[in-house]
């Protein structure tokens, strides 16, 4: 499907609305397509349907009150956003969480990363017309949701992290369930690869489709698995190690060309790397308190600012907090990865087929509420 005609004939241009209510747009996203037959001449994404004003809300509530907001910015990797916000405030206010809390957070964050990638896996293949993988991975993902539900009290929009720790300690059952899950997921890779990776229809729909190379990625600020698929080993967990990521042995999977197939491979390999991190963290898990007791509910960071970047499931995410010394942030900006990832499609969509556009849109793993904020 990827072949392009050398000189497209522009005879009957017409417009097509993709979305805003379309199953393959993963949220309320509308793309105004100008088409020449089956080929896209121009694509203009229309976003903002899900704008809730998180940045403004950040200014008129305390740091802790903003915590539930963070997991609603990107609802698929809520715990990662929790975690990042917590680290940003801790850095700004000089709070040191205990060792055990750091490990608990990393374990839960990586579980959340796997659950986000699993959901992407299922929905992407559903976009391409494969229904069965969706059932397989939701079955796996359900395990993670149960594990995290037991410890944090929520299944999707977590508020598990606290400044200086987490809300609840993990117990032996959690550790047992997590180890069992990792084992189970590993046993499933074979099924996944047999079912999807070696599937000739899937390969034809993804190979050489929607190439995002290094140069394009840099121009549009693309990060995360989409950038790594182009061969740039850029992951905040390695480049600017935060929390305890520097203590684990894991790799940053990279692709070669940056096409949809590379992005698929990178994400699948990333899940395996997350499993490795979880196993090592469980092995190293220290005893001790899970929370710093002396942290006040109304954290008052000193005057100044911090720009804290971390790796969410979709790429480089950052909180830019400016404090005036009061319990309320003076400015709370969130840099979200999907913003650049989607923007880059205005270029990638040119001269591709509409059918390929669906494949490309799915392959970059966007979460629209994250872009809208």
């Amino acid at each position: 499907m990827a072949e392009h005609f050398a000189e497209p004939v522009r005879q009957h241009l017409y417009s097509l609305n993709l979305g805003p209510q379309h199953p393959s747009t993963h949220g309320v996203l509308r793309i105004l397509l100008t088409l020449d037959g089956e080929y896209i001449v121009e694509a203009d994404p229309v976003i903002g349907y899900g704008h809730r004003g998180h940045e403004k809300m950040g200014e008129n509530r305390t740091y802790l009150q903003f915590m539930p907001n963070t997991s609603r910015i990107d609802y698929l990797s809520g715990l990662l956003f929790n975690h990042g916000f917590c680290l940003a405030v801790e850095k700004l206010a000089g709070i040191e969480p205990p060792e055990r809390a750091r490990y608990i957070r990393v374990i839960c964050a990586e579980l959340n990363r796997i659950s986000s990638h699993l959901l992407w896996f299922g929905t992407y293949l559903m976009d391409l017309g494969a229904f069965t993988p969706f059932l397989y991975c939701f079955d796996d993902r359900e395990n993670i949701l149960d594990i995290l539900d037991r410890v944090s009290g929520s299944r999707l929009t977590y508020s598990y992290c606290r400044f200086g720790g987490v809300t609840r300690d993990i117990d032996d059952v959690f550790i047992e369930q997590t180890r069992a899950f990792v084992k189970r997921l590993r046993s499933r890779w074979k099924d996944y690869h047999n079912l999807v990776t070696k599937n000739v229809i899937f390969i034809h729909r993804t190979r050489d489709v929607g190439v995002i190379d290094k140069d394009l990625a840099r121009r549009f600020g693309v990060t995360g698995p989409n950038l790594r698929a182009a061969g740039v080993p850029f992951d905040m967990r390695k480049v600017e190690p935060y929390e305890v990521y520097d203590r684990f042995d894991f790799q940053i999977p990279v692709g070669e060309k940056g096409d949809a197939l590379d992005r698929y491979r990178v994400r699948l390999e990333e899940m395996e790397q997350s499993c490795r991190i979880i196993e090592q963290a469980l092995d190293q898990l220290p005893d001790g308190p899970y929370r710093q007791e002396r942290v006040r509910l109304k954290v008052k960071p000193p005057r100044g600012e911090v720009y804290f970047a971390f790796e969410s499931a979709r790429g480089l995410t950052a909180y830019y907090l400016v404090s005036d010394g009061s319990p309320y942030p003076y400015r709370c900006h969130v840099r979200v990865p999907s913003f650049g990832n989607l923007h880059c499609l205005t270029e990638v969509f040119r001269e591709t087929l509409v059918a390929d556009a669906i494949s490309i849109l799915g392959s970059i793993d966007i979460v629209v509420p994250e872009i809208d904020r």
Binding site: E55, R219, F234, V239, Y307, A318, Y320, D372
Partner: protein, 157 residues
């Protein structure tokens, strides 16, 4: 580190030594902070682009006495993020970065619709996240519930 040293050297030539401030401890999440006057912005951003940096984020800050636009520039090397800060009046304009970075097309639209700072030379300055008929600037401190409206030196002084 090469890209970062290169940018620092060229910017010191362009803006003078006093405009750049290092942060070895990375306490604010950036290695260098560059304070640049608005008219020099295209030249400064060109230095960044030529060294292989990408435009990570643009933020508008509203103070009582001034607006400030903060550009976070980064490259794919450890600890090389740099902050570029530009002051401009509340109804002012700053030169657009769209000729140098495609990502500025959307990011500047967002900053403009939320803070009211115009980017001169932007080819397509229309609302991005807000409705087309929105005439408020939501991230100005004069809009909605705010706890403090401060002068710039009260925070950075």
């Amino acid at each position: 580190m090469a890209a970062r040293e290169e940018v620092v050297r060229r910017l010191q030539e362009l803006l003078g030594e006093a405009a750049l401030r290092p942060d070895e401890a990375y306490a604010q999440g950036v290695s260098w902070t560059v304070q640049a006057p608005a008219p020099s912005l295209p030249d400064v951003l060109r230095v960044f682009r030529d060294a292989g940096f990408y435009l990570e984020s643009i933020t508008g800050l509203d103070f009582k006495d001034t607006m400030e636009i903060v550009y976070h520039m980064n490259t794919y090397e450890p600890r090389s993020r740099m902050a570029l800060r530009v002051l401009c009046p509340h109804d002012g304009e700053v030169p657009s970065a769209t000729g140098l970075y495609d990502s500025a097309l959307w990011q500047e639209r967002e900053v403009w619709e939320f803070t009211g700072v115009r980017f001169s030379g932007h080819p397509d300055l229309r609302p991005l996240l807000l409705p087309e008929d929105m005439d408020e600037r939501p991230l100005r401190k004069t809009f909605g519930t705010v706890h403090a409206y401060r002068k710039r030196e009260e925070i950075y002084g």
